[in-house]
Symmetry: C2
Subunit: 310 residues, 2 copies
């Protein structure tokens, strides 16, 4: 089959940073920066950071003091990672707790282009709320919609964590021209669940994200936190973030997968850089023979804008 030229380089080397986060914010940022530098020195052009990597996952409890962690855009984090992006010559997908106004906060991903500019932002559209993940207390659902961010490496479809369970989000990003889907995420096990339930959850998480690659004919990158973090309120047993970051090609095939997080809180954690080379011409080939975009029944999809059909 004839190759179709992309306006961008045909192969992108990408890197996902899967690591633990501690209480010391400066230490977390230094460690993340060091991992970006290492990835860049190994040839990565696109570096994806996990969700809310500056701190421990603070949504385990609801505490008004926690809003002190939030910062504006541009602000300290984007200034820092913009410098790193420029110095290392890489595109960085970062994630932060955005303070937009007094009393208005978002869970936001920011893309820094390799020239040190802010290429764009995405505000997490679907916000979870379940025991240990009290995000509706902290984050207003995004109002920027599903718009890819244009970078020197192509159009990046950034979505965040809970978005990953919604095929609508992946589809809308694709329809807007996204060439990759990228999910910074922070998901883990409730240690009160048994091993079989934990396995079903982790399998489901990987399966549904691979399905977005399949349905849309584009690669998917999922970068998850790892390590145990206690519940500051002492109410639950804390969260064991399950790692398992992965990179899938446009048929949903696994190109790279990080080691799973150990189940037990006391196990040592390993910080991982997960690499893959993405052939950006593959989507052209895959979509020619799996032409789902050709056949969508838009004349019968209008009820998708309802919550339910009764």
């Amino acid at each position: 089959m004839a190759q179709t030229q992309s306006p961008h380089s045909a192969v992108i080397k990408c890197a996902l940073l899967q690591h633990t986060c501690g209480d010391d914010l400066a230490h977390n940022t230094a460690m993340t920066t060091s991992l970006i530098e290492k990835a860049a020195s190994n040839g990565a052009q696109l570096v994806v950071l996990q969700e809310l990597h500056r701190s421990r996952y603070f949504c385990q409890s609801e505490n008004t003091d926690t809003f002190d962690l939030a910062e504006p855009i541009p602000g300290p984090s984007t200034d820092h990672y913009a410098q790193v992006a420029k110095r290392c010559g890489v595109v960085i997908v970062t994630s932060l707790f955005e303070k937009r106004a007094v009393g208005l906060y978002h869970n936001t991903a920011v893309v820094l282009d390799s020239d040190g500019t802010i290429a764009g932002t995405y505000r997490k559209m679907h916000i979870p709320d379940d025991p240990g993940f009290y995000e509706k207390f902290y984050f207003t659902p995004g109002d920027l919609g599903f718009e890819p961010i244009h970078t020197s490496l192509g159009k990046l479809g950034i979505l965040v964590c809970w978005d990953q369970w919604f095929p609508e989000a992946a589809r809308l990003m694709t329809m807007a021209g996204a060439e990759l889907l990228i999910y910074p995420t922070a998901i883990g096990w409730d240690l009160g669940d048994d091993a079989a339930e934990q396995q079903r959850q982790c399998d489901a998480w990987e399966t549904i994200q691979r399905s977005h690659a399949i349905a849309n004919g584009i690669p998917v990158l999922a970068c998850n936190r790892t390590g145990y973090e206690p519940d500051p309120s002492g109410t639950t047993q804390g969260i064991q973030f399950w790692g398992n970051s992965f990179i899938a090609g446009p048929q949903g095939e696994l190109l790279a997968k990080a080691e799973p997080s150990p189940h037990l809180p006391e196990s040592p954690q390993q910080n991982i850089i997960l690499y893959a080379e993405l052939d950006m011409n593959r989507s052209e080939q895959v979509r020619r023979i799996w032409p789902y975009l050709r056949d969508r029944r838009i004349d019968h999809y209008s009820d998708l804008t309802q919550l339910y059909r009764n």
Copy 2:
């Protein structure tokens, strides 16, 4: 967690019939009937037949004589399976080539309730067309939309083959109250593809259907054809239908999976009845803690009714 009572029995024993099809229509129907009887004698209450099981998969070539295979609803096939359903006391999901009018044909699933009545029909909404699967020549895309069929066992969300690649279809069925998603299908390998490509295709097929269970919190049943069928036109090497029928629970977890179809045309084929018991109360439990229906951003989904966003 408290159990919520379903209006229907909490556990449904279901059976999928995965088998080869030959040139002799009467033989195919007799064999299918015999498998239904066996499934019923083993306690199945719901029996799912594969797509277009009355004949070989005739869409490998485009031939106007093939339209002779089509039949009305009600017609010979629905009369026959209605009798079988009543005699065996089972709900049957059958699939046939529907002649609706001169020059107007559909790929249609019909559900026969256990009292021998036609519970409802579903006309395949998404129609494929790729080498060896020339369905757009034979079938007009369905006009009945995504409506579950009400039966004595609950509301069945019937979708057919190519529909399986479209998250929109699974979502709309769910939103209309479907308690199960059921896919009669006939998918197989182009023998010109290498083993790695064949594996990617089969994995993708299973992954995206499991993802519909996950996204929607309901079980998925996929009943596929097996066996080699030559291309009547002699143009291609024919199709090796890949079997691999499966039943997944509402977290996408595999409850039962049929043996894969052997890769080689000359291998012996085995007809399989795949059983699983579905706990219809599990969706209630799963959706309480994975509440995706709670969080859909319908205020930002209106572009789903577009083909693309440019």
